[in-house]
């Protein structure tokens, strides 16, 4: 029995040494791991959706392979609704090697802005949940989570349609000039057009017109849309319908009564 006990002692000592060596290896796997997040690039994908790409470089100079590298992001509005999500995974990063991957987060802005009109007109804070995970030394999963607040700038901030100014143009026609103004607080340039439809009191289309938009990010726009219509069609009350068509989204109608 004495010999058996002694052998158990030797075996456990050997296993403890292995375990200590494993811990040291795992620690050095972290120390020699280099994660480099590049500059995010925003653009449009093939479907016309907004695509934010984040290049990630993983350099593994450690003693063991790294497994199950994953990045997951989720963008949520102030009401907690998920606006966009994306995930990227790399199964294995072998020792003494590097892997370059791109983390993509896509969002259908058209769908988003049509469902949540407030994003068009109001600046707000978006919540970005990011999770980065990796398995060290093939046995120790590590995960980091972070919540960030990302400011959202409305593309049609402080959108206002001013008082229409009616003026005779010819004997049988009039022109109405409608002032439109807004500030583009978004991170993208606004290119497209704005259309204005004028309806009389019985919802009959009286006139329509529009103007092209080319508003750079963080600049304001102010202009007039002129509509020409027959004097006989003018009623004391009615409504204007405003449609905004941009490359990234379509919005409308925004109904503004007059009279």
């Amino acid at each position: 029995m004495q010999l058996s006990i002694r052998m158990i002692g030797i075996a456990t000592t050997v296993f403890w040494v292995f375990l200590a060596a494993f811990v040291v290896l795992a620690v050095y796997s972290v120390k020699d791991l280099n994660l480099d997040f590049g500059q995010p690039v925003a653009g449009l994908d093939a479907d016309g959706d907004l695509l934010i790409s984040l290049p990630i470089t993983i350099v593994n100079r450690g003693y063991t392979n790294l497994e199950a590298f994953r990045v997951a992001t989720q963008v949520m509005g102030s009401d907690g609704a998920v606006i966009a999500r994306g995930s990227t995974s790399v199964p294995v990063v072998r020792r003494d090697s590097s892997v370059v991957t791109t983390h993509n987060v896509s969002a259908n802005l058209d769908d988003l802005l049509s469902r949540h009109g407030s994003f068009l007109f109001n600046d707000t804070e978006l919540t970005l949940n990011a999770t980065v995970g990796i398995t060290l030394a093939q046995l120790v999963p590590v995960e980091a989570r972070a919540n960030f607040s990302v400011p959202w700038g409305a593309p049609l901030y402080d959108f206002a349609v001013g008082m229409p100014a009616f003026a005779p143009e010819e004997a049988t026609s009039m022109v109405v000039s409608v002032p439109v103004s807004f500030e583009n607080h978004a991170f993208f340039d606004l290119e497209g057009d704005i259309r204005l439809l004028m309806f009389d009191s019985s919802d009959r289309l009286v006139a329509e017109g529009g103007t092209a938009l080319d508003v750079a990010q963080h600049t304001s726009y102010s202009g007039n849309i002129d509509l020409v219509f027959a004097t006989s069609a003018l009623t004391s009350s009615g409504k204007f319908e405003v449609y905004v068509h941009a490359g990234l989204f379509d919005y409308g109608p925004l109904v503004i009564p007059y009279g």
Binding site: M1, Q2, G9, L19, Y28, E143
Partner: protein, 149 residues
């Protein structure tokens, strides 16, 4: 009278030897800790209080080891050996929080899943515990066996 004095000398020599053995083992253990810590130092920067925690473990472990060696040849050495194994198991369970370590730093929460490591370490601790019990049983058996005339 002379045999009593020889017995006393033998006991003293045995005790001094045990002290020397305990000192040597403690020095070697501390040297191993010092060597391993040299490699673990990079994470001490990331985990506040890690060095204090590990040093507390090393101190208690060395004290139990020395007491076990000093009481060598008696049943008490197995008490200390068992206490040492139980201390390792309890220390691992409490210090590693069951294997899921969490930490927060500047809004980033970090989660390290050490359950596999903890399971292996606990099993090794249990084997050490079982070994101490077996040693105690074996010692009691040997004491109980009738000595050949």
């Amino acid at each position: 009278m002379a045999s009593d004095m020889r017995d006393g000398d033998d006991k003293l020599r045995g005790f001094v030897l045990r002290i020397l053995k305990a000192t040597a083992k403690a020095v070697i253990f501390y040297a191993v800790y010092f060597f391993v810590w040299f490699f673990l130092a990079p994470i001490a920067v990331l985990v506040p209080g890690l060095q204090l925690m590990v040093e507390a473990f090393v101190v208690v472990y060395i004290v139990l080891m020395i007491l076990g060696d000093l009481t060598g040849g008696t049943i008490f050495q197995y008490f200390f050996s068992t206490a040492k194994s139980l201390f390792v198991i309890c220390y691992l369970l409490f210090s590693l929080q069951g294997g899921i370590l969490t930490a927060s730093y500047e809004g980033v929460s970090l989660l390290v899943d050490l359950r596999m490591f903890v399971v292996v370490a606990l099993l090794l601790g249990l084997v050490g515990f079982a070994k101490s019990i077996l040693q105690a049983i074996n010692d009691m058996n040997q004491r109980a066996e009738p000595k050949a005339l």
